[in-house]
Symmetry: C2
Subunit: 148 residues, 2 copies
DNA sequence: TTACAACAATTGTATATACAAATGTATAGC
DNA sequence: GCTATACATTTGTATATACAATTGTTGTAA
C-alpha cells in the first residue's frame, strides 16, 4: 500500500506525518475487510470482539467493566453493545448474586456456534491481510509497534 | 505498548492476530491523542484533514469527490462534513461555472489562520507519539506498512 | 430534439458512538 | 444505624457515520 497513491498526493509528506497517515490507512483497510467478513453473520467487529472475550472466559462470566477493559477498542457504552448480542441469543446476562451492582454475562451455546463460523471467516481475512509478510517481518513489525 | 497488557489477557495470541490487534490499538491511541489536540479548536480529525487538503490546493478549489478521494478516512458524506466547516467560516463553496453539478470548495483566510494554529498542536502530538522512534526505525516501519 | 445513462452532490433514515447525568447498590466512617 | 462516597450499570441526548434513494445536471446516441 502506497500512501501517496491512496490519498492521491504528489507532494512529499514528512516521515513522521507519513507514518501516522500510513497507520491510519492500514487500519482502515483492515477494519473494512474484517467488518465485511462479519457482515453475513450480522455482527459488528466490536460485537465479535466481545464474543471472543466471553469465550475466553471458559464458562466463567464477565461483567461489563471487565469486557470494556479487554476490548480492543474501548467504548463507553458496553451495555447497548451487549443488548444487541442478547437480542440474537448469543449471550445471557444475570445479576451477580454476590454484588448486585454487577451484571454477569455468559456466551450461550448458540453464541459459541455462531462464533466458530465467524472464526473461519475472520481467519481467512487475516491471512489475506498478512499474505505479503514473512514470519520474520511480522515479528519485526510487532517489535516496532511496541515502541508506540 | 504491550498488546497483552492493554487488552488484559494472559493467553498467548497467535502472531497474525496479534499484529492485527496491535495495529488497531496503536491507531486508537493515535486517534485519541490527535482528536484531543484538536478539541480546543472544535474540529474533528476529518475536518482538519479536509482543511489540510484545501490548503494543499494553493488557491485552486476542490470539489467534493476530489476531497473524498484524498481523505485519509474516506466517508460517504463529505457534504455534511463541509457544512460544518462552512458554519465556522473556514471554507467557502461555489457552484462550478463550467459544470454546474460540481461544487467548488475553497479554504478561507479565517480557515487558513485556524489551520495554522492546529498545525502547531498536531505537530506536538505527532512528536510525542513518535518519540521512541529513530529515523531508521521510522523508515523501517514505513517499509513494512507498505506490504499491507 | 429527445430519451437515456452517467455523474456530482444532497437528503433521509437507520445505526453507532461519545459524553454526561441518573439509577441503584455496596462500603466506610462516624 | 445513618450518611456520604464510591462503584457498576443504565439511560438520555447530541453528534457521527453508513448506506440508499433522490435531485439536478451533463453527455451521448438514436
Amino acid at each position: 500500500m502506497n500512501v501517496e497513491k491512496v490519498i492521491k498526493t504528489t507532494s512529499a509528506i514528512p516521515l513522521g506525518k507519513r507514518t501516522i497517515i500510513h497507520m491510519q490507512l492500514v487500519r482502515n483497510k483492515m477494519d473494512d475487510e474484517l467488518t465485511n467478513a462479519l457482515k453475513p453473520y450480522e455482527v459488528s467487529l466490536q460485537q465479535f470482539n466481545v464474543l471472543r472475550i466471553l469465550r475466553g472466559q471458559k464458562g466463567k462470566p464477565a461483567n461489563l467493566s471487565t469486557l470494556n477493559e479487554r476490548m480492543v477498542s474501548k467504548m463507553s457504552n458496553t451495555t447497548r453493545l451487549v443488548d444487541k448480542l442478547l437480542a440474537k441469543d448469543y449471550v445471557r446476562r444475570e445479576v451477580c448474586a454476590a454484588n448486585r451492582r454487577k451484571i454477569e454475562i455468559y456466551i450461550t451455546p448458540k453464541g459459541n456456534a455462531a462464533l466458530e463460523k465467524m472464526d473461519t471467516a475472520i481467519l481467512k481475512v487475516e491471512k489475506a491481510i498478512l499474505q505479503h509478510f514473512t514470519k520474520t517481518e511480522l515479528i519485526q513489525l510487532n517489535t516496532l509497534l511496541d515502541k508506540f
